[in-house]
Assembly symmetry: C2
């Protein structure tokens, strides 16, 4: 069977890898592999602390994927010799102010509903687990099994793995899925899936900071998450001294630059409030990406027609869902039944919309672009529930552009006249 995968982000590459290992002849099409959300993401594998109200249908899939990650990482390492930075440290969720403490209480109920390990900690106990936590922290929850990988290392390893597995990587743009010479087509183009597959995927913009400890500065031992004046923040530390802080969330269009000053300010303020040591680090990079959001925040995984499958719309959870998505799509390609994927049916919105007399047309609210009357980045806004809609005419702009990723290491040489 000849399979064409559209999109060489980490989802597309993982699907290609798994399909090739199961005997398919696979080609992946992408003019710029990894230019999308894959290399901006922070890499949390957090079935507990990424649980959200209204997204309960995702819980078993997130859990299965989290449990599959250690083995998936080992397989990737064995196939390529590359480490993906899987980090077996717990996640701590903390709050400073009263309102945020109440938010932690609400979240705890949600966390417990995942039926995975969750532990309420006193502030003193929390600082024992994470000595860099602010002394002002008043409430904390520990999720011992919420872990993290390095998404850039994952993407690099997947690129190597597909090559080893004999997958062909075609660095070219696909304008129309019908142009592809293949028995089966997998659409894994992130935000670009909207235009290519007539799917309700919208870009949800997010800024992420990469900091670097200098010299012997102490580093967080855990992944630290929290709420600061109602805004979520996370701090993911990697072996080697990189500290990733994320993420803003807005739907102000497709520009990677508008409002990054405000986004950086907000991310630094919130992360410094939880972990004051953050202020001592070097701000090495600001990157902006676009999460492929869907109307119900659940991914689009399943058949579009007899020849086409979708593996897209992973919103905040792309990295976490790599192993489960890759195996699910490989199963579907092999003709296996996967009734557990029903909540992710990519045609679920069209089926709902069918009885309507007059389906709404025009650009989805998510793609309305710059709002000149807004005086602030609309950060962490609740995901907009987009009504079933006609294809978004502006969605062809939605595919991510190369991230403005800016290593800021100074040159090592001294310069003296």
């Amino acid at each position: 069977m000849r399979v064409a995968v559209v999109g060489a982000g980490s989802i597309g590459l993982a699907v290609a890898w798994r399909a090739a290992l199961r005997g398919a002849e696979v080609a992946v099409h992408d003019p710029e592999p990894g230019s999308g959300a894959s290399r901006v993401a922070a890499g949390m594998i957090a079935p507990v602390t990424e649980a959200h109200y209204g997204e309960e249908a995702l819980t078993p899939f997130m859990a299965a994927s989290a449990d599959a990650w250690p083995g998936f990482a080992r397989e990737l390492a064995a196939a390529t010799g590359l480490d993906v930075g899987f980090r077996d440290v717990p996640t701590l969720v903390a709050a400073v102010e009263d309102g945020d403490r109440a938010e932690i209480d609400r979240q705890s109920d949600l966390y417990r509903a995942t039926a995975r390990a969750v532990e309420r900690l006193t502030p003193r106990a929390a600082r024992k687990v994470e000595p860099l936590l602010s002394h002002r922290v008043r409430a904390a929850v520990l999720a011992p099994q919420d872990r993290a990988v390095d998404p850039r290392a994952v993407h690099s390893a997947l690129l190597a793995a597909v090559e080893v597995a004999g997958v062909e990587l075609r660095r070219e743009t696909v304008a129309d899925l019908r142009d592809l010479d293949a028995d089966q087509v997998v659409l894994a183009a992130g935000c670009g899936s909207a235009a290519l597959g007539d799917l309700p995927v919208r870009p949800v913009r997010g800024a992420v900071l990469r900091l670097r400890a200098v010299g012997d500065q102490p580093l967080p031992r855990t992944t630290v998450r929290g709420f600061v004046k109602g805004h979520p923040i996370y701090i993911v530390t990697r072996d080697g001294g990189e500290v990733v802080v994320g993420a803003t969330s807005d739907e102000r269009g497709h520009d990677r630059r508008t409002g990054t000053a405000g986004a950086v300010h907000d991310l630094l303020r919130r992360s410094i409030e939880l972990v004051p040591e953050i202020a001592e680090y070097h701000l090495a990079e600001v990157s902006v990406g676009f999460r492929p959001g869907t109307p119900d925040n659940l991914p689009l995984i399943g058949r579009l027609d007899h020849r086409t499958l979708a593996a897209t719309g992973h919103y905040r959870n792309g990295i976490a869902l790599i192993p489960a998505t890759a195996d699910a799509v490989a199963d579907l390609l092999a003709g296996e039944e996967r009734p557990d994927l029903a909540p992710f049916d990519p045609l679920r919105f069209k089926r709902t919309a069918a009885p309507r007399e007059t389906p709404p047309v025009g650009p989805a609210p998510a793609a309305s672009g710059h709002r000149p009357d807004s005086n602030r980045v609309a950060e962490n806004a609740a995901p907009q529930r987009v009504a079933p809609s006609a294809p978004d005419p502006s969605a062809d702009h939605a595919r991510e552009r190369p991230a403005p990723s800016i290593p800021t290491e100074p040159a090592a040489e001294e310069a003296r006249p």
Copy 2:
């Protein structure tokens, strides 16, 4: 007369240019022209709002240099065809909180002592002059003649001007002034002057942000300065949509990276407080430089010996003092008397120290490097008055390294698979 200038920052290049125009045969030595403070600076020419208590001896020199700038910029443009971004817009100093309002009152007295135009404004009048000023501003002062240039454009134009004037640029390191084959030597090596000339110049670290307006975002019409919880902040706008925000000030050693996260946070917080629109811009670059500070904050301009002149130690005022310094040094090279330069005598500290029984030895407090007990960037600390001291043994690290200047414009192409 053969003149060797050590240092191809803007001071060194301007001295070389003026000396060459007056007939000298000039060579400038620098392995990396413009790698120091010249291209980090914001470029304010602000004899009023850069006035500081204890630095009154600088007032006439700052005034003369400010008055010389328009002609100097025209001459540079005529010689090179390059524009230096001289911007004839006023400077507004504003405050939000009561404590900062009191600071503005104190500053106003100092500003008036410069005998240049100063105007107290009501908040309403201030917002008429600068519509982007926060509605929370409670006090403001206008300095109609404090202006700005683009220091990078200035440095580029000076590089072109010295070439036109026949100056030789030698991209090589000078280890010892005695190695130079010249009749006269001008030491203009910024922080590197400490080791080369046995001068009390210490690096005062500062971070500066370069933001960029996106699309049709409105820009400040004026240079906005202010005090936010006692910390000074400035916002300099250039034609073309660049907005420069500065600057932090600390003496935590020679690393360009330590604490840039905290520095960026503080600069954004303070600038957004005065001009909320800042949050909407793109954070295009973070750069860190080292101001060449002196014990009394006054520059070192004058004779070191019969063959050697100093033109260094300009601290915060390097760009503002380019024309006056260049003409002063050209006068001294021509054998003219310049009694007005007496306060800047580069040997003034040695003369004071001479009668001492036991001159203090060891590293100056300013160069004590990283303070592990400090939990925050010591920003905007009052300049340390360093006692007359022996040469700082750590000063040979003080010469600036290339700035981690990070253009973050995304690539223009759309990428779609």
